[in-house]
């Protein structure tokens, strides 16, 4: 099975998955009590005139399968529709305005956390059993166990609010450092532990002995032969790592007053703004599934056995 065929196959499998995600979210929304047109205290709903327009737009008064079909059709043409609560806002506004901020935050955190985690994991793995390995691995476990909300709280309360050493928000590059730092700590621990385990296992393989026996430098053995084989567990760990980053982004954005998507998601939850919740969830699922897809294809490119297993 060629790599292209493998990739195409994975793309085709992803589409029903996405429909499933949409149907699951839709079912949850549809089954709910309460109405977005009677928002809780502190929120202003839309006027009656607009309610009628919105009901027609989303086919809210028609059978669920019709409502769902129209919604899927609209989403397929990248039209996520207006908010049911805020008359001046559409879901597309949030996806174009706020979501990129969240994405930037997540990517900045991953950009420093993954290399640091890999380096730490390799460093600990080649020294397995030593005191330095123990220190590095305990450190990684500590980072993973340290809740992101606590780090975000400490950094924002002291460095931003009390001592005013760093600006809050998301306008300047200086303001982006602390949030990216806070969000990346748990992924560092996660990646380091993952890579360490993979390195320890790979070091016991015959091909490593062969590589050493034919006189390769230790550096090359580690960074080429060993690390290449820890790619599989690393890519398999991509989804949990994305979950860490997305979950953490909620708290980091709240702590540092970052105008990302999490505030819109929470507000939409409080006001039962279904299209907003669904739109953001669907886009999130698309991003995660796409990341998953890329990691699978990378894995297949690195390891022909994966391609063959899929073909069977």
């Amino acid at each position: 099975m060629s790599l292209a065929a493998f990739a195409l196959r994975r793309v085709l499998v992803t589409i029903p998955l996405l429909l499933l995600v949409m149907l699951a979210t839709f079912a949850l929304m549809r089954g709910t009590g309460g109405s977005p047109f009677e928002p809780p205290e502190g929120y202003v709903g839309v006027p009656y005139q607009q309610e009628r327009v919105l009901r027609r737009h989303y086919r809210l008064d028609e059978p669920w399968f019709l409502e769902f079909a129209v919604y899927v059709k609209n989403v397929a043409t990248l039209n996520f529709g207006p908010s049911l609560v805020n008359r001046h806002l559409t879901v597309d506004d949030v996806i174009r305005g706020a979501l990129p901020v969240t994405l930037e935050l997540v990517l900045l955190a991953a950009a420093w956390a993954v290399p640091v985690g890999v380096a730490l994991g390799v460093w600990a793995g080649v020294r397995r059993g030593s005191a330095r390995d123990l220190a590095a691995t305990s450190g990684a476990t500590f980072l993973l166990a340290l809740p992101v909300f606590f780090v975000a709280y400490l950094l924002s309360t002291y460095l931003v609010t009390r001592w005013q050493l760093v600006p809050d928000g998301w306008e300047t590059n200086g303001a982006k450092v602390l949030p990216a730092l806070a969000l990346g700590l748990a992924p560092v621990g996660y990646v380091a532990r993952l890579i360490r385990t993979a390195v320890v296992e790979a070091l016991q393989e015959d091909y490593v002995r062969t590589a050493r026996a034919k006189g390769l430098r230790e550096r090359r053995v580690i960074w080429v032969h060993v690390l290449r084989n820890s790619l599989a567990p690393f890519l398999a760990g991509a989804v949990p790592m994305i979950a860490l980053l997305v979950t953490g982004a909620f708290f980091v954005e709240q702590a540092f007053d970052i105008p990302g998507a999490s505030t819109f998601f929470l507000d939409a939850a409080f006001t039962r703004d279904y299209p907003m919740l669904m739109g953001l969830t669907v886009v999130l699922a698309v991003l995660v599934l796409a990341a998953n897809l890329v990691s699978d294809v990378l894995l297949a490119a690195a390891d022909p056995r994966v391609r063959e297993a899929q073909a069977r």
Binding site: T25, R128, A145, V239
Partner: protein
């Protein structure tokens, strides 16, 4: 995932710390001279003293007592969510693996799809479904369960698939046993171990999950104390001590459960060998 050298040595201390933490959480509210919810506005924001070893919070509540009572609720939520997660995940994984073939492939693809949404957004959506008026302990249990059963299902399925290829299962089949009998006699009893590992793996996730929901203001509402709600009040009133205490309790619990999960995982998998 903990290094082998640490594994053997860390297991016993982790178990002891976990038992001590459980004893504190379960017993201290009964022994303590204070009520975890009694408000004393004159005695708020005290530092540590003999009367209040961990000080008092914004509303003058004794933090040592409140942390224990909060832990009790947090662990009740965690236990409830864990029970639902294990039951759902076990049944789903078992069904997929026993069915095999296309059914198995389709069922596991569905799990892949559901795993594409991190569990925090799923939990929030479930709470929306429950309409928020029921912002109590059981709503939180349900919210955490709905997003949490997929990894257990995957774990159980993988385990059952390997059991299906074992010699004793093949011998049983060769001797003429029906699949239903083999499943009852060999496969189901053999899944006890993997369920235990799944439980220890999910335990920290549900405890942390409760804290996440509470910190976003959608967990059980005041005056119910949970570790998450104590952290939430710390966040709102910029009280670092509450934040640190609740975080320490959650993190300590999570790390101990993780260490035990690794140890049990090793013990159940002879190929991985004992701790060095």
């Amino acid at each position: 995932m903990i290094p082998r050298a640490l594994r053997g040595r860390a297991t016993a201390p982790a178990a002891v710390v976990l038992v001590l933490l459980l004893a504190y959480v379960l017993l201290w509210p009964a022994v303590s001279p204070y009520d975890s919810q009694a408000i004393d506005l004159d005695g708020g924001r005290q530092g540590p003293s003999l009367a209040h070893p961990l000080g008092t919070d914004q509303f003058g509540r004794d933090l040592l007592t409140r942390l224990a009572a909060g832990g009790r609720t947090s662990l009740l939520i965690a236990g409830g969510a864990l029970a639902v997660i294990l039951l759902l995940g076990w049944a789903y994984g078992m069904a997929a693996a026993l069915a095999g073939g296309r059914v198995d492939a389709t069922m596991m693809r569905a799990v892949d799809g559901l795993l594409a949404i991190p569990r925090l957004p799923i939990a929030i959506i479930v709470l929306v479904l429950l309409g928020f008026q029921a912002q109590n302990v059981w709503a939180t249990v349900l919210a955490l369960s709905v997003g949490g059963w997929m990894l257990t299902a995957r774990l159980v399925r993988g385990h059952v698939l390997t059991v299906k290829t074992r010699d004793y299962v093949r011998a049983s089949r060769a001797a003429g046993a029906r699949w239903g009998y083999v499943a009852r006699r060999h496969v189901v009893p053999n899944s006890a171990g993997v369920v235990l590992v799944a439980a220890l793996l999910e335990l920290p996730a549900v405890v942390v999950g409760e804290a996440f929901l509470s910190l976003l203001g959608v967990g059980p509402q005041a005056p119910i104390a949970t570790w998450g709600s104590i952290a939430y009040e710390g966040w709102r009133f910029s009280r670092t001590r509450e934040m640190a205490l609740a975080t320490a309790a959650i993190a300590l619990f999570a790390v101990c459960a993780n260490v035990l999960a690794d140890a049990f995982g090793d013990a159940l998998d002879p190929r991985r060998g004992p701790a060095a």
